[in-house]
């Protein structure tokens, strides 16, 4: 790809015989010859390369082989129903039995020590065969990274294995009726009790909580501090504990995809506090910008959907409808762009660079791509597109929530403008 490595080319006499100088010196009116195209030829670090290593390919092939023989032939019932939830929980156990449920975790907790590149490969294979949605997603992609960074060994031993098998399914408990985008203004309380804490207050829009076993979230343990994000504590609690009332909420299609949680003096032992009491905001946010920013929605999911959309276009599309064709093309191109953008971020991460506010670019992009992709499919399907019980309809309803959850896209755009572009803070 890159010509003959180590060979000093002799393209043009003018560039060839100058001696290199540090590029920190701004050259006057010529480019620094140490960094001309010929300089780019003499490389010391591996250059840009999208080819996969044989070891990564072997991992991918092993995943594909397992998936081909285990993925259910017919789709499971909707994850957002009692019956579907149980079926998806059983699927988590099947994945876990052969260590495919949490490939990026250490082997000690049921994973395969897969790095980000292998995780991306696994996800591509997983979605390409149309494997079921992951009922354990909240715990695996949101709580587990926090436990790896801030949990105690005892917490990891106790919490992670049943999370990996689907035996314990986790819901998140962040938002409150008066604390959405302004999450730090939350008012649910954690009050000191003998050997633990007592939680009171109300959480809402708690995804999966209608059928889940446990939940994690932030509570105000020290009210009256000068700034709202001070005095918060990160806790885990049982949804079946005395004092917890779960009221399922039907999303647009009526399915109970989330719930309100009413908490009345719910006892939580000290062992279920993550990090130091009062440091909950820092604990919750420290993993928000790094790996978690990459792994909430994998490119494989969108690549698989874009492939299905392209197939739908080739089967049912009107070749003269260039407007619809453009939308199909944009979905296919967008999925590819998201894949490559993620590879770049994964490469950066593997070289030890953090992924910070850049994850906001990610979130806006995939959430809008998801909607555009599904709406294009529904438009293509015509009369069939109106039916509710199809994979495309279910996917569409799911996609509509994307710009709202995990930090609204308006909040993400504020982060992009202020932290990546350096614009001044202003009124929201």
């Amino acid at each position: 790809m890159l010509g003959k490595l180590g060979v000093t080319p002799k393209p043009h006499a003018a560039a060839a015989h100058r001696s290199p100088k540090p590029h920190a010196e701004a050259p006057e009116a010529t480019a620094d010859p140490g960094h001309t195209a010929s300089g780019a030829h003499r490389r010391k670090v591996p250059s840009m390369d999208l080819t996969r290593s044989p070891a990564d390919e072997a991992f991918r092939a092993e995943a594909r082989g397992w998936l081909d023989t285990h993925v259910p032939a017919t789709a499971l019932p909707s994850l957002e129903t009692a019956e579907g939830f149980a079926a998806h929980r059983a699927w988590e156990a099947e994945l876990a039995a052969d260590r495919w449920s949490v490939v990026s975790w250490p082997t000690a907790y049921g994973g395969r020590d897969a790095d980000l590149v292998r995780w991306l490969a696994f996800e591509e294979e997983y979605h390409a065969v149309g494997a079921p949605g992951r009922v354990g997603q909240n715990g695996i992609s949101l709580l587990a990274p926090t436990l790896f960074d801030h949990g105690t060994p005892e917490q990891r031993e106790r919490v992670l294995p049943p999370m990996a098998t689907g035996e314990v399914v986790w819901a998140q408990a962040w938002s409150e009726p008066e604390a959405g985008s302004d999450l730090a203004s939350l008012t649910s309380r954690a009050v000191r009790a003998d050997g633990g804490w007592r939680l009171s207050g109300q959480k809402t829009w708690s995804s999966r909580a209608a059928f889940a076993d446990r939940a994690f979230g932030l509570f105000r343990s020290e009210p009256g501090l000068p700034r709202p994000h001070q005095g918060l504590t990160y806790l885990m609690f049982d949804l079946s504990a005395p004092g917890v009332t779960v009221r399922p909420i039907g999303r647009l299609d009526g399915k109970p995809a989330f719930a309100e949680l009413f908490l009345d003096e719910v006892f939580v032992p000290d062992e279920d506090v993550i990090g130091e009491p009062g440091q909950g905001w820092r604990v919750a946010m420290s993993t928000a910008g790094n790996e978690r920013g990459l792994t909430l929605r994998s490119p494989g999911r969108f690549l698989a959907a874009a492939d299905r959309l392209a197939a739908l276009w080739h089967a049912h599309g009107d070749p003269f409808d260039s407007a619809l064709r453009d939308r199909v093309a944009d979905a296919v191109i967008g999925a590819r762009a998201y894949q490559l953008f993620t590879y770049a971020n994964a490469s950066r991460f593997l070289e030890g660079e953090g992924i910070g506010p850049e994850s906001s670019l990610n979130k806006v992009f995939w959430s809008e791509l998801d909607i555009a992709l599904h709406e294009t499919a529904l438009d293509l399907l015509g009369a069939e597109g109106e039916l509710a019980d199809t994979e495309w309809s279910e996917g569409h309803v799911f996609s509509l929530a994307g710009p709202v959850y995990a930090g609204t896209n308006e909040i993400q755009r504020d982060i992009i403008a202020e932290r990546l572009l350096g614009l001044p803070k202003g009124r929201r």
């Binding site: 790809m1 010509g3 080319p9 393209p11 043009h12 560039a15 590029h23 701004a26 050259p27 009116a29 010529t30 480019a31 140490g34 960094h35 010929s38 300089g39 030829h41 010391k44 591996p46 250059s47 840009m48 390369d49 996969r52 290593s53 990564d56 390409a128 698989a304 874009a306 492939d307 392209a310 197939a311 080739h314 064709r325 453009d326 199909v328 093309a329 296919v332 191109i333 967008g334 762009a337 998201y338 894949q339 490559l340 953008f341 590879y343 994964a346 670019l361 992009f365 308006e410 993400q412 755009r413 504020d414 992009i416 403008a417 572009l421 350096g422 614009l423 001044p424 202003g426 009124r427």
Partner: protein, 332 residues
């Protein structure tokens, strides 16, 4: 798997950026638009000295290429500085002549490529039924007619582009036939891929420059007693521009790695749209000053408009991308 530019490639970009900044490129752009090619040709020589054109020319013909990744790196900088002239067309001509050489017709390659690599000659190439860019400045005017490649003897009167630094003309008929046969058709499609890659990179650079200039402007422009950049409506347009540009970038480098026509078309469509969306945002957020010819923003705004359709309209590129990226799992 390592999808990042290395230190040398980043340093190459930085050195081109420094050179083009110190060279007062906007003055060269304005001179070029008046038909005064002197400052633009001086810039051309410096770019050639830095090895930019040699990236598209194989070593056998006194180049260092083909190195499409480095070429994309360079063309982002060319776009960022609105460098005038048939830079894309010279690269496309080099790709065409190199491919002809690969296919056995090495006479035109031996004769013309060393001059393109060194910057002594400037080539332009007219797309089928299209205008040749900057034919009045080019020393080599190539035309593909069916399966023939010829050196046009001259060109019709120059017409203005929306980008005044792009001067358009139809090549004259006749002239020397350099090659003929199916290999010309094959070489022309190779040239199209290189032209689209270079245009995509140039458009991305144009968009990045428009974003940078607009961010700087909204930080210093105050209304209602505060910088207009503190308003959420302003922030969100700029955030959207950044998202569009930053997702065009990986498509560009993915295309440079594969040089597959569908990948290149996807990069061209996406970078072109991202750059023009950013241009519209830049125009809106600058207010009336952005609508003037005298303010330098116009150099990038008009180029973004022109590049959107150069070497393939958005619809053509999308159709090509869809044909090539779909069907098989796009999982490279």
């Amino acid at each position: 798997m390592r999808f990042l530019l290395d230190a040398e490639q980043r340093a190459f970009a930085a050195s081109l950026d420094a050179m083009l900044t110190s060279a007062d490129t906007p003055s060269a752009v304005r001179a070029w638009a008046r038909g005064d090619h002197g400052p633009g040709r001086a810039l051309w020589s410096r770019l050639a000295d830095a090895g930019v054109f040699a990236l598209a020319v194989p070593e056998a013909y006194e180049g260092v290429g083909p190195l499409p990744v480095e070429l994309a790196v360079a063309f982002i900088e060319l776009g960022r500085h609105a460098v005038p002239g048939p830079v894309v067309e010279t690269v496309a001509a080099a790709a065409l002549l190199s491919e002809l050489g690969e296919l056995g017709a090495s006479g035109p390659a031996k004769r013309l490529l060393p001059g393109l690599a060194s910057g002594e000659s400037v080539a332009t190439l007219a797309p089928a039924d299209g205008y040749a860019l900057d034919a009045d400045a080019a020393t080599v005017l190539l035309v593909v007619d069916g399966d023939g490649l010829r050196l046009a003897p001259g060109h019709d009167p120059v017409r203005a582009s929306v980008d005044r630094a792009r001067r358009l003309a139809r090549p004259e008929a006749g002239g020397e036939l350099l090659a003929a046969g199916p290999q010309v058709t094959r070489a022309a499609s190779r040239a199209l891929a290189w032209a689209r890659l270079a245009t995509a990179a140039q458009a991305l650079g144009v968009g990045l420059a428009l974003l940078d200039r607009t961010v700087a402007y909204v930080k210093q422009r105050t209304q209602f007693g505060v910088p207009v950049g503190s308003f959420q409506a302003v922030k969100h347009r700029l955030a959207d521009a950044m998202i569009a540009l930053e997702f065009a970038r990986p498509l560009l480098f993915g295309a440079a790695l594969s040089m597959a026509p569908a990948d290149v078309a996807a990069a061209k469509a996406t970078a072109g749209e991202a750059a023009y969306t950013t241009a519209r945002t830049a125009l809106q957020l600058h207010g009336a000053i952005g609508y003037t010819a005298e303010y330098d923003l116009s150099l990038w705004f008009t180029k973004a408009r022109a590049l959107r359709t150069a070497w393939g309209t958005p619809a053509e590129c999308r159709a090509e991308a869809l044909a090539g990226l779909s069907g098989a799992r796009p999982r490279s």
